[in-house]
Symmetry: C2
DNA sequence: CTGTTAGCGCCTTCAG
DNA sequence: CTGAAGGCGCTAACAG
């Protein structure tokens, strides 16, 4: 089974022989060049069909100056809806230009990230779109310089001289926090995956700024980070909500955090005002529907592909740095009721002198 | 910006010259062959680093018998969580074998599907994992024969002689429906994307079988199909639930259908018993938590990669056809209250003579 | 409009 | 353990 005794694939030479023309004429035909005698063209077409000839793009692209028509995309994890949506919009934009996408997940592992880039360079991708891990290997800036065309996504990195597209994380973090403050919350928890990520950190800065602007003091005990899964988040939130600790509201700084906080609410049978970051499909389905701040993933993907394509086409202008605006999707969760807790928190949280 | 004036990449010949050895010795070194003088090896390593040499895999793979170390995956849409999870598990299994994944979305478009396969053959992928559209172009079986190694996923197709992995859709559909029947529902709606899909159709057959076994008659008016998005589903469900039509419960035959039904519930402010097909991240978060029947996507991805790898390694045994068992995740939604509606439906539904 | 020649970067004989 | 010659499938000159 599985195809016949592995017949050797027909080559252009075979086609040329069958069609009684020279190799080069077949090449011209296959490459869609116009100046070909229709009669000969028909003969070639016939031979191609009969022999099931398929052009070998690998062979066609080894010559310097030729392109592989391949673009690499390195993200953290395709299974994360944020990245799968991104992948999709990049693929869409690339397809329009006839390019294929080699997508790979780094899983935030610096070593794997480096290895993937090397593999993609070995494939001679025409360009690379990359979401770098928070702590790439020290050789990363040098490696990046080897990439013919590069666009950095989502997380800004000023050690790399390349186009970049990020979201307005600080602005978004501010907006999210203001929403919660506006609902009367004073003790607002910040839940993020890792403050080492520039995105989460930006949102955290926004959070701090909004608190300060409202005259509220930030309590480090209300910050959850260093969590990798929504179950981690759920556990951490459950712990934070132990009796005696007053938490008025939650700012969940990415979709993973949102899911984790909601899981904790479900488990504890409670609810608090919450604003999430990054929209997610079920945000409108849960009770109450979750208000979120987000950037347009579709824009990010599409524009990164456009920037890359321009570079591949030889654009040599200085690096572009796009910042996508944060938009707020008001649903209901930011103004859920805040339980009144007159008793002072019994925690050791005021550790600052 | 964007790398310096496009310096030509170093080739093996350059490395050989710099290291004062022959081309072939460099080749041996790069390919990890053991019989190399350590002193010479060190000299080569030095030259490689100095010249930033990167092996050109495209050039290495044009020789017949050589592999591209590339595998293609064609799915319907990466942004769909079912497929992104699948992509992830395939990528994981492939990475262990050092292969890279070329993933592409067909969007259920037969023409695009054919085009993608052709593109992947032109890249000389070592193998292909494919979720075929419901109505592929007529040439598909012939095209499939050109693929060196092929695994068909999710939707069974007996016109193709290749390994396949599908879920037990009939069994799963039966189980889902039985759950609803067991909760006292008699008029159970079936919501599927398209009955032309073998998966949805299998689940539908299971639904019919379970109804028959329970002595219930299937009402065609309770079947929703031909919907492409969860918003379509929401609209259709909203319409189905118009006054006068009694619907006791919903069987949502894929994740898109589940989301659509839940949206409709939210919009109408009602609830009915529901069982979904395919698990989804927020299933446990909505109220009530959604009971689902599903197959292990991780298994499907991993095993398909394993089958493919075996074929690539020369396995010539007859095609394997795996059927993954359906598992039920009991949450709460299958026994939501059924509103009592004593008044007979006023619809023209009993069109069967 | 077509064919000949050379060579891309690498790997495979087969000698040394 | 190393090297020289030849060729993979294709495209770029440069003739005819």
């Amino acid at each position: 089974m599985q195809s016949s005794p592995r017949a050797r694939r027909a080559t252009m030479t075979d086609v040329a022989r069958a069609a009684q023309v020279s190799l080069k004429t077949v090449s011209r035909y296959v490459n869609g060049e116009t100046n070909i005698d229709p009669v000969i063209g028909a003969r070639i077409a016939e031979a191609i069909a009969a022999l099931r000839f398929r052009r070998n793009m690998a062979a066609a692209s080894i010559r310097p100056g030729q392109r592989s028509q391949l673009v690499g995309l390195i993200i953290e994890d395709v299974a994360n809806p944020f990245y799968s949506a991104l992948t999709r919009s990049v693929e869409l934009a690339l397809r329009a230009a006839g390019l294929l996408l080699l997508a790979a997940s780094s899983e935030e592992d610096p070593v794997r990230f480096t290895r993937l880039i090397e593999q993609l360079i070995e494939r001679r991708v025409d360009g690379l779109i990359v979401v770098a891990p928070s702590h790439p290997e020290p050789g990363w800036p040098e490696l990046a310089r080897e990439i013919p065309a590069l666009v950095i996504l989502d997380r800004f990195d000023d050690t790399i001289d390349a186009d970049s597209i990020v979201g307005d994380d600080v602005g978004g973090g501010t907006a999210a926090t203001e929403l919660l403050v506006g609902s009367g919350a004073r003790r607002i928890a910040f839940v993020g995956e890792a403050l080492g990520l520039s995105t989460i950190n930006g949102r955290y800065q926004g959070y701090l700024a909004a608190l300060a602007a409202a005259g509220l003091t930030a309590d480090p005990a209300l910050v959850i980070d260093g969590v990798r899964t929504s179950d981690d988040v759920c556990t951490a939130v459950t712990e934070l909500l132990r009796p005696g600790v007053q938490v008025d509201a939650f700012f969940a700084a990415n979709n993973l955090a949102s899911l984790g906080v909601l899981k904790a609410f479900r488990r504890l049978g409670i609810s608090r005002p919450i604003v999430g970051y990054d929209d997610f499909e079920s945000a409108a389905l849960v009770q109450p529907a979750v208000t979120v701040v987000s950037h347009s993933v579709a824009d990010m993907g599409r524009r990164s592909a456009e920037l890359l394509l321009a570079r591949i086409d030889g654009d040599r202008t200085p690096a572009h740095h796009l910042v996508l605006p944060a938009t707020t999707t008001l649903r209901a969760s930011h103004r859920a009721p805040i339980p009144h807790r007159p008793d002072p928190p019994l925690t050791e949280m005021t550790t600052t002198p």
